[in-house]
Amino acid sequence: MIDTLRAFASRILILQGMLLILALPAVATEQKDAFDISGGFSYHALKVVHSTSSPSLEIVDTTYLIGAWLQSFSGNLSLEKTLANRLEINVALSGGLYYATQDLVTVYFVEDQGRRTSTGLRGSINYIVGDLDRPIMEVKGGYFDFDYTKDLKNLGGYLLRSDMYPGVVYSGGGGSGFFGLGFHSDYIPRLSHDLIVNMEMYYPIGDISFAYVADVDIGDFLNVGAGAVLYRLIQPGDNKDLTSPTTDFGLDEDGERVYYTKAGTKVMGRFSFDPKPLLPPTDFFAEDDLRLYAEAAILGVKNYPTSTKSDGDGTYEVGFDDITERVPVMAGINVPVHPLVANTFVPAGLALFLIAIEPDEAQDNTFRVANDEFDSTAYSSHDEFRWEQETDSVMVVTTDFVPQGFDVKPARPFIWAGASLVTGIGTYLLEKLVEARLRFDVVSIEVEYYGSPYRNVRFRQPAVKPMEKGDKDDWKWSVYAKKSFADDRLAFSLLVACDQTRALDAGGFFTNDLQIIGSNEWYWSLGFDFSF
């Protein structure tokens, strides 16, 4: 059945490509002069406040990223040409400067922490089918961006921006890039459909996936959407051995082998609820205020039986027999941006929350003792200790955890609350004084739960050892604020988050390394965007 589907899908894909190519000369005579051009740049700086991540380190150091500063700058230039009434071509060039996380170990400074440059390209051909005023469908081919919901500020976007077996989710907004074909239709009023056939650009590269997303507007206060992805449905050439390796399997109830695979089916449901049309008219709320949105997905509808593996640390279970561990869920709300709310309660509440989740501070003490004086029981009074045999001595590292949060500097909550109050009232009065809106455009709070027992990083094989304390990263959260000026051409943004942020690799893609792991770890980020 699957093979039949694959064969059918590949023929459809080829046929669609041929149709698109054939359409070009058919419309080439309808030349138009329309030519749109745009450009801009973005600057982002990120500071890690708490993190236990130790990306790519030979020696695990859970304080490695605390205080790390990451900075990036990128520019973009886009050209769009309408070749004919129905045919449009666009090319977007992008590139930037970015850096790996700086390392305290000096000998790695030069090779790993220097400046990197990235280049990117997007390009697609768009073709309109049917009546120009009310097209049946828009067909897009090339490398293009797609975002099925504009509500998401940081978390979510699970259907198209995730991996399976084991499931991996990403943060950074809902959109992503796709290489393939896209079909969009909103011919039926209030109903929107999108079908995307794309080639996967991550390992195993070249697999072909099919995605369908639909949403419907109910009144002017509710938008409901759903979608499904046949992920890596077609595995051309030797990809089948990579996507579905014959080395990883579990045994079913009959003792038969069931091979794990990174291919499968993802499904998603989401809604966006705006209560303002149901409330009495008021100037207090801005356009996006009070919008409540949520999304949930199943990253792999099929269960696989578990199997037992072993390594130097002992045995462990791998497999995918619990569907709830493959369901990420997120919810978000746009807080009213009125200064007396967004500039007062939000920063005060955020400050209290951050103080409350403040992790205990680890105080390490490293020293050496002579071999004949070393007694491993002498350090049991410390919260943790480890030791390493050296040539003529033993290196001992003891760790004691000092409670933080409300236990230290008890004035902090009051200072933050007072500062928030001053900020809110001050902004409100300043608005009156200069007769301009200085308030944020949007302030969003998002929360996510994802109960996967595995590290949220991309693995090459489906059979992966679960992480220790697998639930420490289940909850994620983010607070996002944005203010734009000059017809949205200048925009400042602020993000305080515990999410799946990652550094970039030499090719400008996200690395596998997470910057943030536990739910009480976080960073803040400032962004400046300019577009014209």
Binding site: I37, G39, G40, F41, Y43, A45, K47, G67, A68, W69, Q71, F73, S74, G75, N76, L77, L93, S94, G95, G96, L97, Y99, Q102, L104, V105, T106, V107, F109, V110, E111, Q113, G114, R115, R116, T117, S118, T119, L430, V434, A436, R437, L438, F485, A486, D487, R489, L490, F528, F530, F532
Partner: protein
């Protein structure tokens, strides 16, 4: 003192940003022009290293004394696509992308690992807003990634304030300006004077990202003499102090016991000061026969780090690069024929990378100063020189030629340079030809 300056700088920057934001918001009337212009630049260069005994970083085997760069040829062909936008009478933007193909220089010895390299990315991207009188634009604020020069008559050497580092000191050379990321406020409100304030992030040398406020100013005296000066508080605001001033527990050599001085803590933070003068005598007489660049005489000196430290930074004279140059009269046959000389008396290699350690002579991958004589050229490399010629025809084609023993470095594929300069000792030099076509 430094802490006071840092606090003042942060406060001032915050205040300026708040005022500018408020001022921007108060601009209710925006005249939307949306004028776009595309620009294209094609460039090609070929340079031959006549003599060198340095091994570049990328792709070469780890061997020394092979003179593998002798008669090595470096070639680059590239293009730039720029888009400028005049959004309102006060508000404009620009973005430019670069892409080029280049080859590592290879001489008689040609390692298999040396191949052509494709590099590129964003070259410049900035937004600019003008304040004050709309005709004169006495205050212009630029933010983003921009290329900057303060002494355009200098063709290869000089412009030390930005093209340098402190502790350890190093300088660059080249015909292009320096890439700065940050804010740049330029004022021409006072006639014949220009004042420029910068607040920039370090993007090219480790430790990355530190913030540096700078000031550059010059006064024009009767179009004959230009006197300029500048100061840079390099790395005044650190994004992570243990990188800027390395923690002795992690980088022990950054805190050293020096006899008679006790423990000395070295830091990358420091103050650079610069002074320069340019004289153009042509306004003093009938100069119709001369081209606009002819007869210009200019000089610059900088102190790369005003503070002395025991052992490595005891002599201010060793931290002062000085250059002077002259544009020969070409009577419009050439646009420029310049000769420039530089003296920089540092006893160490002029390398920007020291593994993030603020003491000189640390080779790549090493944790202690090198004792290799190759890393301590002493006075042998103090003098540099360059001869540059340029000619532009039909407004769009520029030919150039250079022969020099300057701070010649090969790019690193990421828009910057490999750390080692290639023509260090007397007798080592290179020559090159270039072509630019713009429209």
């Amino acid at each position: 003192m430094i802490n006071l300056l840092r606090r003042t700088s942060i406060t001032l920057t915050t205040a300026i940003a708040a005022v500018l934001c408020t001022a921007w918001c108060a601009q209710a009337e925006l005249i939307d022009l949306d004028k776009f212009d595309l620009s294209l630049l094609m460039y090609a260069r070929a340079e031959q290293i006549v003599k060198s005994d340095i091994r570049p970083e990328m792709g070469y085997p780890d061997v020394r004394d092979m003179n593998i760069l002798d008669r090595g040829l470096y070639t680059v062909v590239g293009g730039r696509l720029g888009l400028s936008a005049l959004l309102t009478e006060r508000f404009s933007g620009y973005v430019c992308f670069d892409g080029h193909i280049w080859t590592q220089p290879v001489g008689e010895f040609q390692p298999r690992s040396i191949t052509e390299v494709t590099s590129g990315g964003v070259h410049e991207a900035w937004a600019r807003v003008a304040f004050g009188d709309i005709e004169r634009k006495p205050f212009v604020l630029t933010g983003g990634l921009f290329n900057y020069r303060y002494a355009t008559q200098m063709r290869d050497l000089g412009e030390y304030l930005f093209r340098s580092g402190v502790y350890p000191g190093y300088v660059f050379s080249g015909s292009e300006g320096y890439e700065l990321l940050g804010l740049w406020l330029k004022s021409t409100a006072i006639p014949n004077m220009t004042h420029e304030l910068f607040f920039t992030s370090i993007i090219n040398e480790v430790p990355n990202f530190d913030l540096s406020p700078s000031y550059v100013g010059h006064v024009n005296i009767a179009d004959v003499v230009t006197v300029g000066a500048g100061i840079m508080f390099s790395r005044l605001i650190s994004v992570r102090e243990e990188y800027t001033t390395p923690d002795s527990a992690i980088t022990p050599i950054a805190r050293e016991y020096v006899e008679g001085h006790g423990n000395v803590q070295y830091t990358h933070r420091g103050i650079k000061v610069m002074g320069r003068i340019a004289i153009d005598p042509k306004p003093l007489f009938n100069a119709r026969l001369f081209g606009p660049e002819d007869l210009k005489l200019y000089a610059e000196a900088a102190l790369l780090g005003t503070k002395n430290y025991p052992k490595y930074y005891e002599e201010p004279a060793e931290r002062i690069p000085v250059m002077f140059g002259f544009h020969f009269p070409c009577f419009k046959l050439l646009d420029v024929l310049a000769i420039e000389f530089e003296y920089y008396g540092t006893q160490y290699m002029n390398d920007p990378y020291n593994n993030g350690v603020p003491i000189p002579g640390i080779s790549r991958g090493e944790e202690a100063p090198s004792t290799d004589l190759e890393d301590h050229p002493g006075d042998a490399d103090n003098w540099k020189w360059a001869i540059v010629a340029e000619k532009t025809i039909i407004d769009h084609l520029t030919f150039s030629a250079i022969a020099a023993r300057d701070h010649y470095r090969i790019e690193d594929g990421n828009g910057y340079y490999q750390p080692h300069e290639l023509t260090v000792m007397p007798g080592q030099w290179y020559w090159g030809l270039g072509l630019k076509a713009s429209f």
